[in-house]
């Protein structure tokens, strides 16, 4: 496998792992939606994910060995008004090719804006729009941080099934996000000197828009206990939310339009001020990774920890 292919693979994997920047817990009526770890959810909130850690292997090819990429990230979300928030995410990546030295460095800063448009408590429904920017040139090129900016306008939704007539389905909720990542640069040219041929060679890498889409299925045992039937669950199960997250990316241009992504089954334990998450990362195909990765997160509800200072909106009444 050529270095450029390795780089492309690492970049793709990195993009998948970067998608782990999902914050925002929230309530709609009786429903408390946890902050999913991989798929951005529809709420705006004051939160801190510190840290999110993911680790996944990438398949090798040709002469190139496979590698393991570990990413440690932090994300902070701040409400400006009760319906509008800004978030910042920074990741640190460690790429370890098998049998070679690891490469490590910071990725690009990601800045997100989200506006909650609809919140229907009776229907346990919420709809939001947002846009996320990747600050090109911020991160380290060794871990394939892009030198150019990109933006991803996205629609987010969440729906609890508390209003369906079947009791065992009522604790279930679905959230989803669909967006298009638009790179601000169409191509990158890299010129290197080939000493064998004694000439300069130029390699052109094209950047295409990608469709980023995903959803979560979350079965809330707290909802079951408090709203459907008290089945006598004790700690820690009465606060556990089994969850399956699915996050995918489909190129909208170029010769290879194959969808990549992972399906992540796991659990989120939600306390009054903190939540802990652990998920397996199962790649959907060879291009998405090798084996089963892991994703974990410690997540702080700043609105509950600091309700009268940094945990409340700058303008407008707290939720």
């Amino acid at each position: 496998m050529s270095r450029s292919l390795f780089v492309a693979g690492a970049a793709g994997l990195s993009a998948l792992l970067c998608a782990a920047g999902a914050l925002a817990h929230g309530t709609a009526g009786n429903r408390f939606f946890v902050a999913s770890m991989l798929v951005e959810d529809p709420f705006v909130a004051d939160e801190l994910a510190l840290p999110t850690i993911s680790s996944m292997r990438e398949r090798g090819g040709g002469d190139e060995p496979g590698s393991r990429e570990t990413e440690i990230s932090v994300e902070w979300a701040k409400t400006i008004t009760p319906s509008f928030a800004i978030s910042f995410e920074q990741a640190y990546s460690i790429v370890k090719p098998k049998g070679e030295k690891s490469v490590r460095g910071f990725g690009n800063l990601e800045v997100g804006f989200k506006y909650q448009v609809v919140k229907d408590p009776a229907a346990e429904f919420v709809l939001s729009f947002g846009v996320g920017f990747e600050v090109g040139g911020w991160g380290n090129k060794r871990v394939e941080a892009d030198s150019f900016w990109s933006a991803a306008p996205t629609v987010y939704f969440g729906k609890g099934l508390g209003d369906v007539g079947v009791d065992f389905l009522r604790p279930l909720a679905i959230t989803g996000a669909v967006g298009v990542n638009v790179p601000f640069k169409k191509r990158t040219s890299t010129t290197t000197f080939n000493p064998d041929k004694m000439e300069f060679e130029t390699e052109v890498e094209r950047h295409y828009k990608t469709l980023q889409w995903g959803m979560t299925l979350q079965y809330s045992l707290p909802y079951l206990q408090a709203n459907v039937r008290d089945i006598g669950l004790g700690a820690p199960f009465e606060r556990l939310v089994p969850i399956v997250e699915m996050a995918f990316e489909t190129p909208l241009g170029g010769p290879n339009r194959k969808t990549t992504g992972t399906i992540n089954p796991g659990f989120i334990w939600t306390g009054e001020q903190i939540q802990l998450g652990l998920e397996a990362q199962i790649p959907i195909n060879r291009e998405s990774g090798k084996g089963v990765g892991v994703l974990m997160q410690v997540h702080f509800y700043l609105d509950d920890i600091f309700p009268n200072s940094i945990g409340k909106p700058i303008f407008g009444a707290a939720k």
Binding site: T27, G29, N30, F32, L48, L50, P51, I72, V74, P121, D167, P222, Q225, A226, N227, V228, R229, D230, G271, E272, Q273, I274, V298, F300, Y301, D303, D304, I305, F306, P307, N308, A318, K319
Partner: protein
């Protein structure tokens, strides 16, 4: 990495101590959520994870047809600010819906509802 671990540890330790700053969620109820009871209860009691603001917290109990059967004002127990209760009249057999709305002492509002059945 050490800095990250340090910050996480500090934040986590700060959460170990009991704190009143959080959303109040329903911990348990009497009658139990979704239960069938006999004889009928004299009152409905709810226990929450956080202390409540008495003036802003209430319970309503209704029949399946929506008729209000809870009597008087809901009140937060003087010896336990996590407990909210309301009296109910003599309840004939049937399905009842409990609707609650509370505000925790930090100002966060939460609400919910559930049913129980009198046999």
């Amino acid at each position: 990495m050490k800095a990250v671990i340090g910050i996480v540890t500090a934040l986590a330790l700060s959460l170990v101590a009991p704190s009143a700053w959080a959303h109040a969620s329903l911990q348990r109820a009497e009658p139990k959520v979704g239960s069938e009871v006999s004889p009928p209860p004299q009152k409905v009691q709810l226990w929450f994870t956080e202390a409540l603001e008495p003036a802003l917290s209430k319970i309503e109990v209704k029949t399946a047809a929506g008729k209000l059967v809870s009597t008087g004002q809901s009140d937060v127990a003087s010896d336990d600010r996590h407990r909210l209760q309301v009296g109910v009249g003599s309840l004939p057999p049937g399905l009842y819906r409990v609707e609650w709305s509370v505000v925790s002492v930090d100002g966060h509002k939460t609400s919910g509802n559930f049913t129980f059945t009198v046999k």
